[in-house]
Symmetry: C2
Subunit: 351 residues, 2 copies
């Protein structure tokens, strides 16, 4: 039996710093929070004491004294697709649970694929009333600029689901969509029996996440499963009706389709088509996001696998990241990494 050391139990406080540095509490606080009006020498004295004692601030006590409330905003596309709805639900759910952690969550919806309205929202944001924003939207130069403006006003911003790599010092809450596409291809290639064509249903050409999934998918299909031909994809715009209407034509043109990769939203359209067009022996379907509809399809065997990102995790992670950024505090890298979840019927979580 081996005990592991748990290091020093008593943590140094601001009082200890004040004593060691020979200054008052107020001065320690000024240095700690980088407030002006302290002489260089005094600053140094305090900082020395801080490192010497190995001080780390008690955020809880600080927030108590400060009566701090984190006011966070989620900006989502105004669509009714399953994934965004699930995200909204997760936000609502967390909203309740976060309230006693001095955190309030709000959400606004903006017209999809409309950079200007995102810019408008961001530019209207007041640092007095908003501490951080999680943004799920397209990557355009104007959005990037608005993000940077918001940041320079002191508002923390993270990209949600779809990355905004062009903005500086950014955090991204979501998974690697190229890898997600590669994962889908790997499952597709291994599940499919015999020859045939693979159909890809994408969302929009404007959505970076959709493009990346497609890129990853195509790469693996080409490299590892050259016998399977990927036919030109259809652009479903996340719209079930549109998808439902397009599919019959595609199946007429390519009767030998043996696999479908539904890489965006709009799965209910695909499901209705599959149900209506009778049993498809040997057809492998890989889709994205675990929702009520896709879960049922997986359970019934209509879908074979689902690539998913946990919406609860996305929201909690965005919240933690925004709070940490607002406080300029560090965060747990590994905890914030969003996994590329693979669900088969067998490991699908209950509810």
């Amino acid at each position: 039996m081996s005990d592991r050391d748990t290091s020093l139990l008593k943590k140094p406080t601001v009082n200890d710093i004040a004593r060691v540095a020979g200054v008052s509490l107020a001065t320690v606080d000024r240095v700690l929070n980088m407030r002006p009006g302290v002489r260089r020498v005094t600053i140094d004295k305090v900082n020395d004491a801080i490192v010497q004692l190995g001080y780390v601030r008690d955020t809880a006590a600080a927030n108590l004294a400060r009566k701090r409330f984190y006011r966070l905003l989620f900006v989502l596309p105004e669509t009714t697709n399953e994934f965004v709805l699930a995200l909204q639900e997760a936000i609502t759910e967390q909203s309740g649970k976060q309230h006693d952690q001095r955190t309030t969550l709000a959400a606004v919806s903006v017209p999809p694929f409309d950079p200007q309205s995102i810019v408008d929202v961001l530019d209207r944001l007041d640092p007095q009333s908003t501490d951080g924003v999680a943004l799920f939207g397209p990557e355009t130069p104007s959005v990037r600029d608005a993000v940077n403006r918001a940041r320079s006003r002191g508002i923390a911003v993270v990209a949600l689901v779809s990355d905004l790599p062009s903005s500086d010092r950014h955090h991204f809450v979501g998974f690697d969509n190229i890898a997600a596409g590669r994962t889908a291809a790997s499952l597709m290639g291994r599940f499919v029996r015999g020859p045939g064509r693979i159909l890809v249903i994408t969302g929009s050409r404007l959505a970076r996440d959709h493009l990346e999934r497609r890129t990853g998918f195509d790469a693996v299909m080409r490299e590892e499963f050259p016998d399977l031909e990927v036919v030109a994809s259809i652009e479903g715009r996340d719209d079930p009706e549109l998808i439902l209407n397009m599919l019959p034509g595609v199946f007429d043109a390519y009767p030998d389709i043996c696999g479908i990769y539904s890489s965006a939203a709009g799965n209910p359209g695909l499901i209705r088509f599959l149900e209506a067009s009778g049993p498809h022996e040997g057809l492998v379907v890989v889709a994205h996001e675990l929702t009520t509809a896709s879960r049922a399809a997986l359970a019934s065997g209509l879908f074979d696998a689902i690539i998913s990102q946990d919406t609860g995790h996305l929201v909690r992670s965005a919240v933690r990241l925004l709070k940490a950024t607002a406080d300029q505090a560090p965060f747990d890298q590994t905890q914030e990494r969003i996994r590329i979840d693979i669900y088969l019927r067998e490991n699908m979580p209950a509810v």
Copy 2:
């Protein structure tokens, strides 16, 4: 653009309760913490005020005043297998990060498959110095009793990785091992081409988690892939050397093995065997737990899939659960559900 309401920003405090109920702070505290020495009528007055105001206690402030420190202990089997090592690392890592959350983590190792030493550890635990215990160990009547004794002394206990369903009011931090076995079988059945036999490597007959995986695996193989015969499993006791020594005999006896399900630890032994015995065209290997060794095997193509539970998540979840239990506070069900992670080469997380 639609704003969502974020409910009342100002939370009621103990002072509000005292004012509304017409009593002192001290009395409010007595009622809140169910301390004795308060008249029935007074209790009711206070409770009325509490519900009327919709009061929820500020845990941070309470912990500050109380100078509370959560002292948590992890009890792990004293083995050197990869998974337990990864768990230990995760504990050490969290230990550092939890320190500023008024939480210290310690770990003890006990001889594996030895219920008595677990009982000894549990019985020696002093509620004065330990608030909660996360226990990874075999399920036996004596362990269950010791767990219940610890609980009645006021120590919170959760089962880790392997469930202890026979104890009362228990929490389990880990995934459904039957479902994990089913998931492995589903992947195996779909990945394998052509006929042949499937070999299962188990750990110990005493470990509930191992048994459950085996049960789930066999069920799905029988139901859905009756063409594939599962040959009698070998019991590797999580020991790489033992596994390495047993495998040649098994392959001699069954030259047509086309799939291996490594359901416990000891993967390095399997890996060495596979590397030494030359390329195995078409052999599908599904193993458990993402570790340095298994990750490399997945990357090189030696393994085809890995079923895993996130050790970081396990530890964080155990910590949150133990703290909540110690405080008799509620917790976020969905956040504490441990997923059955499936990793292919394509979605394996970096590092």
